[in-house]
């Protein structure tokens, strides 16, 4: 086992150790749990940096990027008929640049959210269980990132969901105890689909098809995938759907749909996009950690890992889902007034952009976009935590304002993130978006027809999201306070330091001198794509990009125009006939939750009630009827027996005849007598036979 892998394994295990230590010392003060968590994440971070340094020392990240290691056989998979020799799915470790980058990112998030959590200890918003949950969550995500195969990845992803559930456990509102169920319901459906996908895949391919095997060469792999994907064991199915099978789709299509569902559920993509609203009652650092590491990292990472297993049809599905979610999220974010919901929708929108790009084949841009989404959303959630602390928990942004003076550092960081996300060139915003849009324009024009929406949807959103973000910033920090602020509001270093570090990370991640952006600077491998898509020639794309670059100025002007007079114009616009209905529709998240409840939850409950009724009354009554018939028969027989006995005993009491002589006055004596008899019989049968019989006797051998 290479030393760097040992270091990474230890780095992943340390949060688990912290979780166990916290659980063992649960009754102690939460401050111990907090420092245990921070210490573990610091050590993990150090070990990870050491591992990266060792890899770099061995010839750079590109040279020693892939390591695969099997620890033990987890599940044997004798594939079908005839049973093949014992082979199995190995529980192990697989590391490449993608996993290392995300590994580092998640550890950084864990550390900074842990530091931020220290500020919540005094307010008793969190307890030891919170730290145990976050540690379990971080361990699961880290282990998922370095998983050797897809089932292992899936297992840790489910564990991450449970960790998230535990982290926010103390935070669920007593009056909304269904929140965790809603939180996990979509993931359960997606997990079942994922299981089906893995089953179909294993039925068709060798066990190795599920292994994260980064080495190239043994299979014919599209060249566009090779430099971008760290996993192309099964890339030969790039164009392959399989013969038409169930419902006219090839088996590879079904595999793709099922596997994609797992990634989409984690990344909160349509139709699994409702659950993030149910993790918002958690404390803000938990929102930052879970939102960043689960939605923005795990979902796109899973898609990136599954990338070689998805053929072009399924990638198109991913792109369509990404575009749909992007549009929904941007529209809904535009009208949100709950500060946490607004940030959650922004996070969904950014993640869906990453999904759209990945689906369109812009692998590296998609990955970079997910890193940016993670950093931006985590920072905004921490900012939200500071804001909520300042305004006493009030989440309606219409009642805020004027916090710039009270929280200058936080407001500044939020402004920088807003500027960066709206595309301000000096802050490094445009590269990812512009390169991504170039890809998308290329992709959409190749598809043609309605496929062009895959390009125009992000262009539209490119205007909507900055509008929503600027509105958010202005209402929270700008202008004058719209309601009274509590006295003594100030910033503490424990809160501002993580926010500043994350902001710095976000801004620098996009700078040209950082390796992440250099990934984008590489020439795109267009050779195999050229066979599929025509080359990029359109001038429309350049026009749009040129407009988008300066869109933030227009948006800012618009925002200021609308909001500088305390929402009066916005309210008037909202009151227009028709617009109020649209506003209501968007404000309720397009009623998707209600739709799911009405179309899935209620019918299933009704069906369950029907089956329970069937089981209780119909099956039960059938049994009872049978028993009654038997009882009736027994009574008839007993009456007949009594007559016979009376006849045979000459009219004496039949209870004194026959079995009556065995009756005893002591209760339970009959039971004991029967038992003793049975026991004696068995003991006699077993022992006497064994003792008396000749030893070594066996059946004669038959040919």
């Amino acid at each position: 086992m290479p030393h760097s892998d040992i270091l990474l394994s230890l780095a992943a295990l340390l949060p688990l150790l912290a979780c166990l230590l916290t659980l063992l010392r649960r009754s102690k003060t939460p401050i111990v749990a907090a420092y245990t968590s921070i210490g573990a994440s610091l050590m993990s971070l150090t070990l990870t940096l050491l591992a990266i340094a060792r890899r770099l020392g061995r010839g750079g990240m590109a040279g020693a990027i892939h390591q695969r290691l099997g620890l033990f056989c987890w599940l044997p998979l004798p594939g079908g008929y005839p049973p093949v020799p014992h082979q199995g799915l190995t529980f192990g470790l697989s590391v490449d640049s993608l996993s290392l980058a995300f590994f580092l990112l998640v550890l950084l998030l864990h550390l900074l959210s842990g530091v931020y959590s220290l500020s919540l200890l005094r307010q008793r918003e969190i307890n030891s269980a919170y730290f145990a949950g976050t540690n379990l969550f971080t361990f699961s995500v880290l282990a998922m990132l370095i998983s050797a195969n897809i089932p292992q990845l899936y297992a840790f992803l489910v564990l991450a969901g449970i960790g998230a559930f535990c982290a926010g456990f103390a935070a669920w509102r007593p009056d909304d105890r269904a929140a965790p169920r809603r939180l996990l319901a979509g993931a359960i459906v997606a997990d079942a689909l994922f299981l089906i996908g893995m089953g179909i895949l294993l039925a068709h391919g060798p066990v190795g098809i599920l292994t994260v095997r980064p080495r190239a060469g043994e299979l014919i792999v599209p060249a566009s995938v090779v430099p971008a994907v760290g996993n192309h064991a099964a890339a030969y199915i790039f164009h392959f759907s399989g013969p038409p099978g169930f419902l006219g789709l090839g088996w590879m299509d079904w595999v793709g749909i099922c596997l994609l569902a797992g990634a989409m559920a984690r990344a909160a993509q349509f139709p699994f996009h409702c659950w993030p609203m149910d993790f918002l009652p958690m404390p803000s650092p938990a929102n930052a950690l879970i939102g960043g590491a689960l939605i923005a990292v795990s979902g796109p990472f899973m898609l990136a890992r599954l990338f070689p297993l998805l053929n072009l049809n399924i990638r198109l599905v991913a792109a369509i889902c990404g575009a749909t979610t992007l549009t929904i999220a941007a529209l809904v974010a535009l009208v949100q007034t709950d500060i946490k919901r607004l940030v959650a929708w922004l996070l969904i929108a950014w993640t869906s952009l990453s999904f759209l790009l990945l689906g369109a084949g812009a692998y590296r841009v998609g990955v970079l976009e997910s890193i940016l989404a993670c950093l931006a959303a985590a920072t905004l959630f921490l900012v939200v935590g500071s804001v909520l602390g300042a305004v006493g928990g009030q989440r309606d942004i219409r009642l805020m304002g004027g916090l710039w003076a009270k929280l200058p550092v936080t407001a500044g960081a939020a402004l920088l993130i807003t500027m960066s996300a709206t595309g301000m060139p000096a802050l490094g915003g445009p590269p990812a978006l512009q390169t991504g849009l170039t890809y998308l324009e290329h992709y959409a024009s190749a598809i043609g027809g309605y496929g062009r929406l895959l390009f125009w949807a992000p262009v539209l959103v490119g205007y909507l999201l900055p509008l929503a973000m600027c509105r958010w910033w202005w209402l929270v920090f700008g202008g004058r306070p719209r309601s009274g602020l509590p006295a003594g509001v100030s910033e503490s270093p424990v809160r501002t330091l993580p926010i500043l570090l994350l902001t710095l990370g976000l801004l620098t991640a996009q700078q040209p001198w950082i390796g992440l952006t250099r990934l984008l600077a590489r020439p795109a491998p267009v050779a195999p794509r050229a066979a599929i898509f025509p080359p990029l020639t359109g001038t429309a794309a350049g026009l749009v990009l040129a407009h988008l670059r300066w869109a933030w100025l227009v948006v800012m002007a618009l925002i200021v125009a609308i909001y500088f007079v305390d929402l009066r114009y916005a309210d008037r616009i909202r009151r227009f006939p028709g617009l109020n209905l649209i506003h209501r529709w968007l404000n309720h998240d397009m009623f998707f939750s209600d739709l799911y409840t009405a179309s899935l939850g209620r019918p299933v409950r009704l069906l369950a009630q029907g089956f329970a009724f069937l089981d209780k009354w119909i099956v039960g009554w059938a049994l009872l009827t049978g028993a009654l018939i038997l009882r009736l028969g027994a009574l008839i027989c007993a009456a007949w027996e009594r007559r016979i006995l009376e006849f045979s005993t000459g009219g004496r009491n039949p209870q004194r005849v026959g079995w009556g002589v065995f009756r005893s006055a002591a209760p339970g004596a009959q039971v004991w007598r029967s038992l003793l008899l049975l026991l004696l019989l068995i003991v006699l049968l077993v022992f006497i036979t064994v003792l008396l019989a000749p030893r070594g006797w066996s059946y004669p051998v038959r040919p």
């Binding site: 079908g80 014992h86 105890r177 996990l184 689909l193 089906i196 089953g199 064994v690 019989a693 006797w697």
Partner: protein, 540 residues
């Protein structure tokens, strides 16, 4: 590696609880501690002997060879029908014996919750454990019948003497279904004996399970109607198959023959349910996987689609019924019904992966059942009820209990890393393997669908069942642990060391079966599974 072909260790294993029961009966009833410790010691001794047998066992015996059956004790019993007192184990039965011994020990450890007539309780537990182990170690069908029927009576008394108000009715149902199953088993044995006596393969007749499920013999038995020339032989073989299926499905509690299970799980005391229901689960699944399908491979294959539909309906029926329950024990009972469907499905598919999945389902279901039962027992002892609608907020009141018991619910949801996930995963893989590249049954499939399409439907039903179960368990967690805590529960005491200890043992088992299933279960039983699958999957 040395193979211990003959040994008396299994006789000791079966005899120990019987002797222990006799000795306990001789003790005065007021010596509570002595009786309890004595019973626990005997059951721990059983487990120790089972582990010793596992150490003596050669797990690498080649499939199909005579060395598959080890630690034999073989004595003539009834010469006329060639019945023998033949105890022996293969890898599968030895693994199940280990499971039953473990469950027996845990049931005895939890027996302290019974506060009256405890001597009778422990005697019954010992008798039940002994008879269950005897049935699993039996190679002769008649001996198997004897032990499995004998297991009904201690179970009946355990269920009827301790528990809720409806325990007697529950015990009656258990007894009736158990006896019906036993009679069916006896009739099947008579039919098999008759068949083998008239076949060319067994001129003197045999009830030896190893011969009857061996590849050649099984093929001849399966093709009896075609080869023997005896009128009605085919009908008798078919009758034997269906009778065996009825008998073991009733034991397993597959929906349709499940009417005893909800009442028993709801009304009886936790230790009684642990061993009675757990033991019946093991015995029923063992009967299906080891006896019914390998003994009649052609009939199994011929009826694969019909049985698969039954199993799929069972999965969905149990999961849906569980969703409508408000009693924690009833949720457990209907969850178990659903699991019975999974076991049936895994056993009948005939693919090695599905068969492995069925075996893992047995182990996982047993551990999960014990965890859920212990959770409900712990809760009931404090709240005096199990009505989920009247619970809530327990996570704040009993954080330790929450931490431990949530593992049971996660197990039931087939959460990865815990015991039921490998089972579900392998079953799904097995079904798809059979659908896409398996030897599908040649018999016409109903409904105008191809057999492969039916298999895909089974897989979808299994996945839908998993979704429903997971949703139900989440809802159950929500009703017990979340929401505001009620003032009337604020006085609840924390978990006792014994309660915690039992939870820890069960959680460790759940984790072990989930993380290293290959090392603990699948690799040891690999050869036995290969041999059974070879027989089941290649009918003549």
């Amino acid at each position: 590696m040395t193979t211990y072909q003959y040994s008396s260790i299994l006789t000791c294993l079966v005899g120990l609880p019987m002797v222990g029961a006799v000795l306990l009966m001789l003790l005065p009833a007021n010596r509570t501690r002595l009786i309890r410790n004595g019973a626990v010691t005997v059951l721990a001794g059983m487990l120790a002997i089972a582990i010793a047998a596992a150490c003596l066992f050669n797990w690498r015996a080649a499939p199909g060879s005579s060395a598959m059956l080890q630690l034999q004790e073989n004595l003539p019993w009834i010469r006329n029908i060639n019945a023998h007192f033949h105890l022996a184990v293969n890898a599968l039965s030895l693994f199940l014996i280990l499971l039953v011994c473990g469950a027996g020990l845990l049931a005895a450890l939890t027996g302290y919750v019974i506060d009256q007539q405890f001597k009778t309780c422990y005697v019954m537990l010992l008798l039940l454990a002994g008879t269950l182990v005897g049935a699993l170690a039996s190679v002769d069908l008649l001996l198997f019948y004897l032990f499995s029927t004998a297991a009904i009576f201690p179970g009946y008394f355990l269920l009827g003497l301790w528990g809720g108000s409806g325990r007697r009715a529950a015990a009656m149902k258990f007894g009736l279904f158990g006896i019906s199953g036993s009679i069916a088993l006896l009739l099947a044995i008579i039919a098999i004996s008759w068949c083998t006596r008239h076949s060319h393969a067994f001129p003197h007749g045999t009830l030896n399970m190893a011969y009857l499920t061996g590849s050649t013999a099984a093929r001849r038995l399966a093709g009896l109607g075609a080869h023997s020339g005896v009128p009605a032989a085919g009908f008798v073989a078919r009758a034997a198959f269906w009778l065996l299926l009825f008998s073991f499905a009733a034991r397993l509690g597959v929906p349709g023959l499940h009417m005893w299970l909800p009442d028993v799980v709801t009304e009886a005391s936790a230790p009684a349910v642990m061993l009675t229901v757990g033991g019946n689960l093991v015995l029923g699944a063992y009967g299906l996987a080891r006896i019914t399908f390998p003994m009649f491979p052609r009939l199994g294959a011929h009826n694969q689609i019909a049985l698969g539909i039954w199993a799929a309906c069972a999965i969905l029926y149990g999961a849906l019924c569980a969703l409508a329950q408000s009693d924690l024990r009833k949720v457990t009972a209907y969850w178990l019904l659903s699991q019975a469907g999974y076991i049936l499905l895994g056993s009948l598919i005939g693919a090695a992966a599905a068969f492995n999945g069925a075996i893992l389902f047995i182990a996982g279901d047993l551990v999960t059942l014990l965890l859920l039962l212990w959770s409900s027992q712990t809760l009931e002892r404090r709240a005096n009820h199990r009505d989920l609608n009247r619970l809530g907020g327990m996570a704040q009141l009993l954080p330790d209990f929450f931490c431990f018991s949530i593992v049971g619910f996660l197990c039931a949801m087939a959460c990865p890393g815990l015991c039921l996930f490998p089972a579900l995963f392998l079953t799904m893989v097995g079904i798809f393997s059979a659908a896409y590249r398996g030897h599908l049954p040649a018999a016409p499939a109903p409904g105008g669908l191809e057999p492969a399409q039916w298999f895909i439907m089974f897989a979808l039903a299994a996945a839908a069942g998993a979704i429903l179960i997971a949703a139900n368990m989440l809802w159950t967690i929500e009703r017990i642990f979340l929401g505001p805590s009620r003032p009337e529960y604020h006085h609840f005491a924390g978990l006792t060391p014994v309660e915690k200890g039992i939870f820890i043992i069960l959680i460790a088992a759940a984790l072990a079966f989930g993380i290293i299933p290959d090392l603990l279960v699948l690799a040891p039983i690999h050869q036995a599974v290969q041999s059974l699958v070879l027989v089941s999957s290649r009918p003549p």
